[in-house]
């Protein structure tokens, strides 16, 4: 049992996180961009869950991994950039998503062709930088220009992303030297992110209850 938990604790937490945030999405009276952010986040978690399940089913198939990595990486970019563009009031152009999606797709193809995860990891690193920067900007916009309480869900989602991407970047740097040795550290960065997002539900409810 302990082994199962140790092995699948991330998957379990991801499902829990998905359940909590889906419940929040359905029951809370959140509106506008905040609602979009929650919806995209739930979809992101759902995609991850599907990826995990398929990874278990296909016993860690490399092709499945690369396919879902590409899908999720592009979805992440789409999710974060869409929110950023809408918050900033910039003109939304699909090409702007397509451009950062190109290296991801290319990296996936290269990794698949040479059976080497190095291109993926490198692109993952830079994607993390883009997503971190975008998340920081989103937080900045919300904190400076939007209602704090009304967008509290978005704040917790993106502060979680900031935490997650910082840890990811740190892990990726370490992994660059010795990926396999420090793989568990990267896993734990994800764990911290999920703990943060699950705990956020309690904080959001408290804040909503207190300040609405």
């Amino acid at each position: 049992m302990i082994d199962f938990i140790i092995f699948h604790h991330l998957g379990i937490l991801r499902v829990l996180t998905l359940a909590f945030w889906f419940y929040l999405y359905k029951k809370s009276k959140i509106t506008g961009l905040n609602r979009d952010a929650v919806k995209y986040f739930v979809n992101y978690l759902a995609l991850f869950t599907v990826w995990n399940i398929l990874m278990i089913v296909t016993e860690n198939s490399g092709r499945v991994y690369l396919f879902f990595w590409t899908i999720i990486s592009i979805y992440q970019l789409y999710f974060v950039l869409t929110i950023l563009f809408k918050l900033a009031g910039w003109n939304y152009v699909w090409l702007e998503i397509i451009i950062p999606a190109l290296p991801t797709t290319l990296a996936a193809i290269l990794s698949f062709k040479y059976s080497n995860y190095q291109p993926v990891n490198i692109v993952d690193f830079f994607n993390s930088l883009i997503l971190l920067t975008s998340s920081v900007l989103i937080l900045r916009y919300i904190l400076l220009k939007k209602s704090f309480v009304e967008n509290i869900e978005t704040i917790f989602i993106f502060s979680g992303f900031v935490l997650y991407f910082i840890l990811q970047i740190l892990a990726s740097n370490i992994m660059t030297f010795d990926f396999l040795k420090y793989w568990s550290f990267c896993k734990n960065a994800t764990l911290i992110g999920f703990i943060y997002w699950i705990g956020s539900i309690v904080c959001i409810r408290k804040i909503r209850y207190r300040y609405s």
Partner: protein, 565 residues
């Protein structure tokens, strides 16, 4: 050393703690941030609220100021209404104690100007003036929430008598009796007018029912007592011929005159001026100083006299007076007394007219009886005359002449009654008209218009029909005698009839310038019917008949004025 699993568990737990720590930190930061935002928002809201509040306070202050001004104006308006109301207003508190009286109410109560009412602060039910008229219990209805209405004579603590109508309206606050407002109208004048009307009606009624003037005056005094004090009440009538004032009705505490010379009295002054006089002692003294009236021993404290006028002529004065109370009458009472005086004047006029009618009726009754008597007498006279005439008739010519003579005699008698018909008084006739008419009638009968001229020198006076019908027969005989016999054989002649009145006698002289009466005829022992008749009638009239034979014939008839004929 630790196994790989142990390390992994440790790392997972550490990661959880790290995650929770970061979460808690972020949560605390967010909470702190939120608190500061909320604080700022609260401050802003407080600021907004305080600004709104300030605005509201300012607006409310303005509204209050306006309301206060409106209230002040309304208060002044209401105060103006209450202060100048033609109705008296009293406000009672919850215990029915008087806490306000308006100026009109003070006037109704007779409170001297500038003096505070004695009734303020007193229970209205305890006021002696309210107790006296027995309406105290009615005011309890106000406390039960009922309106009240009273109409009564009210005598205030200041002694003022006033007829009032009172309407009381209860006031409530939170369904609890809070006091009442009383609206009082002074209806004294209306009541007085009603009293005067009733008095005048009673007087008019008495005028029709009471025959005797004195009894009527008693009734008038009794009825007038309802509107004016008639303790001393005189009706004085003025006789212009004698300049005397008679008192057909006099009720006086001080004197008991029946009549007195008009002289310089207050009554005479009213008669002279024809205007009412309200004379208090000061005015009486002033009039005495001006020699308009004489000073009398026991002057009235107040004297009120109003002229009695019949067809604009002052026939007397109605007087009320008091010897001890100078405030018994006011100048307003002149009006009341004037109304009464008009009725009294009318009564006197009616009674005088009534008495005149009664006198006239009595006279007519006597006259009718007299006429019956005269008709009987005259018929007897005519019968006698015809009987005398009968003795004279021997031939047919004598009969014709006799009838003519008798006709003249009857016409002579009728002439007096003919004139009597046209006379103003049914018992007296103008003798001048009678003599002229008789003479002209005879001239006509004997057709001597051209032959004989009759001249008249007659004094006018009235003579009673009793004397005239006999005197007429006498004159008829004498003038007929002249007309028939004096101018026989002549172509013309003159007859002069003179009439004059001496102190005690009526003297008639009938002269003609004819051939003169034969010497053998003695007028006192005549053998002719005519002269015998004259002699007989003269005896009846106790008169004397004399004859003058110079220059024709002159008969002088002298009869006393007070003949018993």
């Amino acid at each position: 050393m630790y196994t790989e699993n142990q390390i992994q568990i440790f790392v997972i737990i550490s990661s959880i703690f790290i995650g929770l720590f970061i979460l808690t930190t972020i949560y605390l930061i967010i909470k702190l941030k939120l608190n500061s935002i909320l604080l700022r928002q609260s401050e802003e809201k407080i600021k907004e609220y305080s600004e709104d509040l300030e605005k509201m306070v300012e607006e409310r202050t303005k509204q209050l100021s306006k309301s206060e001004e409106s209230y002040k104006q309304l208060y002044k308006f209401n105060e103006g209404i209450v202060e100048n109301s033609p109705a008296g207003i009293i406000r009672l508190d919850a215990k029915l104690k008087i806490n306000y009286e308006n100026p009109e109410m003070k006037r109704i109560l007779g409170i001297p100007p500038g003096e505070e009412s004695k009734a303020l602060g007193m229970d209205i039910r305890e006021l002696s003036s309210v107790k006296n008229i027995g309406v105290s219990s009615i005011f309890n209805n106000l406390m039960k929430g009922k309106e009240i209405a009273i109409e009564n004579l009210f005598i205030s603590v200041y002694g003022k008598k006033t007829f009032i109508t009172l309407k009381g309206v209860p006031m409530f606050e939170n369904n609890k009796f809070n006091g009442a407002v009383l609206l009082i109208n002074d209806i004294t004048e209306r009541k007085q007018a009603e009293n005067i009307q009733r008095t005048l009606y009673n007087i008019s009624d008495a005028l029709n029912k009471v025959d005797n003037l004195h009894e009527l005056f008693i009734k008038i005094r009794e009825f007038s007592g309802n509107v004016i004090d008639t303790t001393n009440f005189d009706v004085a009538l003025y006789n212009e011929k004698t300049d005397m004032i008679s008192l057909p009705f006099d009720v006086d505490e001080s004197d008991d005159f029946v009549s007195f010379p008009a002289g310089e009295t207050l009554t005479a002054l009213v008669i002279k001026t024809g205007k009412p006089l309200y004379a208090n002692r000061q005015l009486q003294q002033k009039l005495a100083k001006q020699d308009k009236i004489e000073v009398i021993e026991n002057p009235s404290a107040i004297w009120l006299g109003v002229p009695l006028k019949v067809e604009k002529q002052v026939i007397g004065v109605i007087v009320v007076q008091s010897y001890d109370d100078p405030n018994l009458y006011t100048e307003k009472d002149i009006e009341i007394l004037t109304f009464i005086s008009e009725e009294i004047a009318l009564a006197i006029k009616h009674k005088q007219a009534d008495e005149q009618i009664r006198r006239d009726l009595k006279e007519k009754e006597l006259l009718l009886r007299e006429i019956h008597h005269r008709v009987k007498n005259n018929l007897q006279v005519i019968s006698g005359l015809l009987m005398l005439q009968e003795n004279e008739i021997t031939t047919k010519e004598d009969a014709i002449k006799g009838f003519a003579a008798s006709q003249d005699r009857i016409l002579a008698m009728a002439k007096a009654y003919e004139l009597l018909l046209g006379s103003e008084y049914m018992s007296e006739v103008s003798i001048v008209k009678y003599i002229e008419s008789l003479a002209e009638q005879l001239k006509h009968n004997y057709d001597i218009h051209d032959k004989v001229k009759i001249r008249y020198s007659l004094e006018e006076f009235a003579i009673s029909i009793e004397i005239l019908d006999r005197l007429g027969l006498i004159l008829n005989e004498i003038i007929t005698n002249s007309v028939k016999h004096a101018f026989e054989g002549r172509e013309s002649g003159n007859i002069h009839i003179e009439l004059k009145e001496t102190e005690k006698h009526i003297v008639i002289k009938i002269s003609d310038d004819g051939i003169g009466m034969p010497e053998d005829i003695d007028i006192h022992n005549p053998d002719t019917l005519g002269l015998s008749l004259v002699e007989m009638l003269m005896a009846q009239l106790q008169g004397t008949l004399s004859l003058d034979r110079k220059n024709g014939t002159s008969f002088i008839v002298e009869i006393p004025k007070e003949s018993e004929a």
